[in-house]
């Protein structure tokens, strides 16, 4: 392909003219072909002023709330442990089907996720847990770990994939008093490392944690309604 053709293809890509199939193929090439990626960058800069001709629309505060909730449920790689290598090129993640499957669910259940968003600020302190609960499936397979930290932070770390049906979410529960029953401490669209906010919940050894499958916005009753996919109790970390 001539340089001219490559450049015009890059222009067509940026203008959004390609069919979905051609676009995907092109995006795959971009991940390997730095020179082509640079041509794309040039076209973006050339055509970007057209974006500024769109009349701005009011941005509702509720939209920010949803974004904050989804961002918290999908932590920036910088905060995920272990840290991943930086992306070589930006087009790869755009095409990631797995990501979008998750993001779609995140959008559906975002309101409930605000709870989780509140925990973000405290997420980055030291990482030695004081207590650990290993949550097991019915078949005694380890599914997730709940770590608690001295400063009150609690995190859920999945150990295995949990299948979440379309339109459903995972709800995390804890129970410290059988008389009170389980209390919800978060709803997440899919299994991934998630900070939990437990500041209004006592925390002790032998405290029960569980994950159940619930409607996307969380259990409508305030108690688990769906199947419990994993459960366990806290132990003092060695």
């Amino acid at each position: 392909m001539s340089g001219e053709d490559r450049d015009l293809l890059a222009g067509e890509y940026v203008a959004g003219l390609m069919s979905p199939e051609a676009e995907q193929a092109f995006a795959r090439r971009l991940t390997r072909d730095k020179a082509l990626a640079a041509l794309v960058e040039d076209w973006r800069a050339r055509l970007a002023p057209l974006d500024d001709t769109a009349a701005a629309e009011p941005a509702p505060p509720a939209l920010w709330d949803r974004i904050a909730a989804s961002a918290a449920a999908a932590p920036a790689p910088a905060r995920a442990a272990p840290r991943r290598a930086p992306w070589r090129f930006r087009s790869g993640w755009w095409e990631s089907l797995a990501f979008w499957r998750g993001a779609g669910l995140a959008a559906a259940s975002a309101a409930a996720l605000l709870l989780v968003a509140l925990g973000v600020q405290t997420w980055r302190a030291e990482r030695t847990p004081t207590m650990v609960a290993v949550l097991l499936s019915d078949a005694a397979r380890p599914v997730a770990v709940v770590n608690t930290f001295e400063d009150g932070r609690v995190e859920l770390v999945p150990l295995a994939a949990i299948e979440v049906p379309q339109g459903r979410a995972l709800e995390i529960w804890t129970m410290w008093d059988k008389a009170l029953g389980p209390k919800s401490i978060g709803v997440i669209p899919r299994a991934e490392t998630t900070p939990l906010r437990l500041d209004r919940v006592p925390l002790a050894p032998d405290q029960f944690f569980a994950i159940s499958i619930e409607p996307a916005g969380g259990s409508p009753t305030g108690a688990p309604t769906g199947p419990v996919v994993a459960q366990g109790v806290t132990n003092t970390a060695l």
Partner: protein
């Protein structure tokens, strides 16, 4: 004098405190308030961009939601040496909005009579060009193009139309539209450098 139809003057949003690049760097460090500052600066204009592509407000909000989640997740992959931070954010948004548009079209078996008969709500491409800032070289260069080539390129970029849709809209053979656009892009590149 009748109000012109929503032809707001060209708007360049006030940058977030510290600028877009610093904002992305803070996002990469896990600072959610930096993402919020970027949202406050760009969500309104981004909703406008997404709305031109997706038309429905709820879909435009979804695109902006997804774009900010992607920006958050991938902020550390932004490389200032390859382009501006703001352009990167808009590229994320446009990519997401275009993908949503294509998915919609597939689901709705596209060209439902309703859609086909209502290309309105889509601004005339000449009006879009008229609102480009005079300081931008792009305006001068688009003005130099033959009107139909200019219209095809602007409609594609602004409304997310594919070659085939443009051919339908302009009532021209597909091959003609493709070669117009290529020549138009080629002239633009020469003009803009």
């Amino acid at each position: 004098m009748p109000q012109s139809q929503g032809h707001a003057p060209v708007r360049e949003s006030p940058p977030p405190p510290g600028g877009h690049e610093a904002g992305l760097a803070a996002c990469a460090r896990g600072d959610l308030s930096a993402l919020q500052a970027l949202y406050q600066a760009e969500a309104g204009p981004m909703l406008g961009v997404a709305r031109r592509i997706l038309r429905r407000r709820t879909l435009a909000e979804e695109a902006v939601h997804d774009a900010f989640v992607l920006i958050w997740r991938n902020a550390q992959s932004f490389d200032p040496q390859r382009g501006s931070a703001r352009a990167w954010m808009y590229a994320v948004l446009r990519h997401r909005a275009l993908n949503m548009l294509r998915a919609e079209q597939r689901l709705e078996l596209s060209e439902s009579p309703e859609e086909a008969e209502q290309p309105d709500g889509q601004e005339d491409p000449e009006a879009v060009v008229a609102r480009l800032s005079e300081e931008k070289a792009l305006k001068a260069c688009l003005d130099r193009l033959e009107p139909k080539r200019r219209a095809a390129i602007v409609m594609a970029y602004v409304h997310g139309l594919t070659h085939a849709e443009l051919a339908g809209r302009l009532d021209l053979p597909l091959g003609t539209v493709k070669s117009w656009i290529r020549r138009g892009l080629s002239s633009l590149r020469e003009c803009l450098g």
